[in-house]
């Protein structure tokens, strides 16, 4: 098949961001790259169902997410590689940064429920609107908003931040949050 040049460009242009999202979903670079590859194969096999003029990137993200949900869910029972181990399996990113802060953030992110992490990343990093994110995740806009809010709150708790100048462990804060009371 001859590929339309604009399609080719749009698909390749979306790859870096698709990879970042895929890594956040499966927590493993190799697996993420396989996921992106499978996504591209599916997308191009069904390119006719893409509506020109709409957001190619959002379309690809939707395919990737759905594919991940259906495929990965099965595998997860075999390889228990979910939330808790997500952080450890990511070897590429933290060291080159050498930032303790970023590593702590990544670890905290790994402890979020998958639904919340996904919503937070799509809105906060991939740059999709709440509406686009709701379409990608197949749920209501309000659901996305609430997931993003809960994700932020949980991250702030895990990282013990109440304000920007308080970024980092703070035993008193941590004790209060752990106690759950006021």
């Amino acid at each position: 098949m001859a590929m339309d040049e604009s399609v080719r460009k749009a698909v390749l242009g979306a790859v870096p961001s698709l990879r970042a999202f895929a890594i956040s979903l499966c927590g493993n670079v190799d697996r993420a790259d396989d996921l992106v590859q499978e996504t591209l194969l599916r997308a191009l096999a069904n390119i006719d169902s893409f509506q020109p003029g709409t957001n190619m990137s959002a379309w690809l993200f939707t395919i990737l997410r759905n594919h991940f949900r259906s495929e990965y869910r099965k595998r997860r029972r075999e390889v228990e590689d979910s939330d808790g181990h997500y952080a450890e399996s990511l070897k590429t990113q933290p060291e080159q940064h050498g930032q303790v802060e970023l590593r702590e953030f990544r670890d905290a992110l790994a402890y979020l429920p998958a639904d919340q992490r996904e919503a937070l990343i799509l809105v906060g990093a991939s740059g999709f609107s709440y509406e686009e994110t709701a379409n990608i995740c197949g749920c209501a806009v309000g659901t996305i908003k609430s997931r993003v809010n809960r994700a932020r709150t949980r991250l702030a708790e895990l990282l013990s931040i109440n304000s920007a100048d308080e970024f980092g462990p703070d035993e008193q804060t941590r004790a209060v949050l752990a106690g759950g009371g006021e």
């Binding site: 098949m1 001859a2 698909v11 390749l12 990093a125 702030a156 304000s163």
Partner: protein
């Protein structure tokens, strides 16, 4: 200008409502993590995949 000292202390009573600074900080961290991958660009395997799928385009392999 509002400072931590002048601001009402209700923030502490409501951990569920995050301040703008906190949200901004979290967003910054999130993007740093994400952009780290994005900045790696398009690995060869994906360019090659598209070349392969493009059938006729096989001649300029690479």
């Amino acid at each position: 200008m509002e400072t931590a000292a002048t601001r009402p202390k209700k923030d502490h009573a409501k951990p569920a409502k995050l301040g703008r600074e906190v949200q901004a900080r979290l967003g910054q961290q999130l993007r740093a993590l994400y952009d780290d991958v994005v900045s790696q660009g398009v690995p060869d395997r994906f360019t090659e995949l598209l070349n392969r799928l493009d059938g006729s385009g096989n001649k300029d392999k690479r």
